[in-house]
Amino acid sequence: MLLKNTWNELVKILAKPRSYIGFGALTLLIGIILLAMKADGKSFISFVTASFEQTLSFNGEILNGNLMAFVILQMLIIHVPLLVALVTGDLVSGEAAMGTLRMMATKPISRSAILGSKLLAGAIYTFLLTLWMAFMAYGVGQWMFGVGDLIVLNSDGLVVLPADDIMWRYFYGFGLAFLSLLAVATMSICFSVFSDNSIGPIVSTMAVIILFTIIGSLDVASFVSIQPFLLTTHMASWRSLFEMPVPVDDILSSIYILLFHIIAFAGIAFWRFNKKDINT
């Protein structure tokens, strides 16, 4: 019944016009970034290498597809959560508002299966969105700018990664990005269980992300102790894959924290949904 209803959920997601906003927005945004970099990417590179240019000269094709994918992923990873929440935040509360949750809940399918199928469908949607982002950023970027070494500005300094040592980093990087977005999706579905209207969970999800991002960037003593546990802190963990050497322990730690968030939000959602009175 879980798989049958997951199929139902996917049918519903694909039938809703708002599901395509994310794909359209990504296509437009990434397209604009790529075209802008094609037109004036050199000034961006100067910004990256500015600190060193008095003493050193950087030779070779710095402006390449690998750099494009990195720039795009870095720019969009804060904004893509909204595109995810737009769909996943509506999965339960939207149906409650429409009254269709009532219709579904009178069928011989358990509450856990209903919610499980929504979580699964939400995860698949998030995966497809991440895949599209990867295709546009990495695939189209490579097509427009070609391959080459990747120059990355980290807190440790400049890292230059050889071209043949990059693809696997992006593979895992997009994997980590998916995990971050999945945590956001699960959070929005959890909020959705507590609400009977469409907008509340979406706005709440974005408010949480913005708030945590701000807390994560403030150098205040009372915040510093909680920063390592915030979801938003680990949404940037994909960048660790572009360090030399790759801090595997740090990445694993981020994965565990993201998984913890996913499990916690899902657990709360299941608990609440199973006890919830469907009055709409």
């Binding site: 600190s51 060193f52 240019e53 008095q54 003493t55 050193l56 000269s57 950087f58 030779n59 070779g60 094709e61 710095i62 080459g148 070494d149 120059i151 500005l153 980290n154 807190s155 440790d156 300094g157 400049l158 890292v159 230059v160 050889p162 071209a163 994560g216 960037s217 150098d219 920063q227 390592p228 802190t233 680990h234 940037a236 963990s237 960048r239 660790s240 360090e243 030399m244 801090p247 740090d250 730690s253 981020s254």
Partner: protein, 226 residues
């Protein structure tokens, strides 16, 4: 009185002779360098610069006298800004500088003569060049360039034997890096602190292993146009 006069004369004369010798030696070195009109070579670049992590990379370098230089690499290659053509260009204009002997030094069991080359113009980019020269082979074994904008660059040369033009097989640049500083806002690793990274090392090195020289092949000027 006469003794002082004689001593002074001898000293001045000695200095003049030495100055003349320094200029001659430098001229001989420069003449040897200018035998190479152009060259291309394969190079492996190993950089050890604070705040930069880069694996050894390969490139091809092209030079055409007096000051054309081009690097062609599949990947990203980091090279020092100073030390390739600027020194040669500076040394090729003897009217722009004066040169004096400044002592001797052993470098890898070779006795070298230290020539100090001082720019005449007070606003020249290159202020001072120190050259440790193997007088017998008329080869620069080491140099130190002091520039207005980029600080100091020290260069060590190694030469493989039996090369007709005596082009270096290894060049090691030591550059000043005390100005490098990473902005705080680029802290991206959630597991590290958010403090800005200040470079504690004052110098970094870039080592070039050069091979497969092709000299005086007649590289066109247009090749160097970007």
């Amino acid at each position: 009185m006469i003794k002082a006069f004689l001593l002074t004369s001898i000293l001045l004369g000695w200095n003049y002779i030495f100055a003349q010798d320094a200029q001659v030696l430098l001229r001989q070195v420069v003449d040897k360098i200018e035998l190479v009109k152009d060259y291309s070579a394969n190079v492996q670049i190993t950089a050890d610069i604070p705040l930069i992590k880069i694996l050894p990379s390969k490139a091809k370098i092209y030079f055409k006298g007096p000051d054309k230089f081009k690097v062609v690499s599949k990947g990203i290659a980091i090279l020092p800004k100073q030390g390739f053509t600027d020194m040669n260009l500076f040394l090729s204009k003897p009217d722009d500088y004066m040169v004096v002997f400044a002592g001797k030094k052993m470098i890898e069991s070779v006795e070298t003569t230290l020539l100090t080359v001082i720019a005449n113009e007070s606003d020249a980019e290159i202020i001072l060049v120190k050259l440790w020269v193997d007088a017998s082979r008329r080869l620069i074994m080491a140099s130190e360039i002091t520039t207005r904008s980029s600080g100091n660059v020290k260069i060590d040369y190694k030469y493989a034997n039996n090369k007709s033009f005596d082009l270096p097989s290894r060049i090691k640049f030591t550059v000043d890096v005390k100005e490098f500083k990473m902005p705080k806002s680029f802290s991206t690793n959630p597991h590290k602190t958010n403090k800005s990274k200040v470079n504690k090392r004052k110098t970094g090195t870039i080592e070039l292993l050069i091979s497969n020289y092709k000299v005086n092949q007649g590289i066109a000027n247009s090749f160097f146009v970007k």
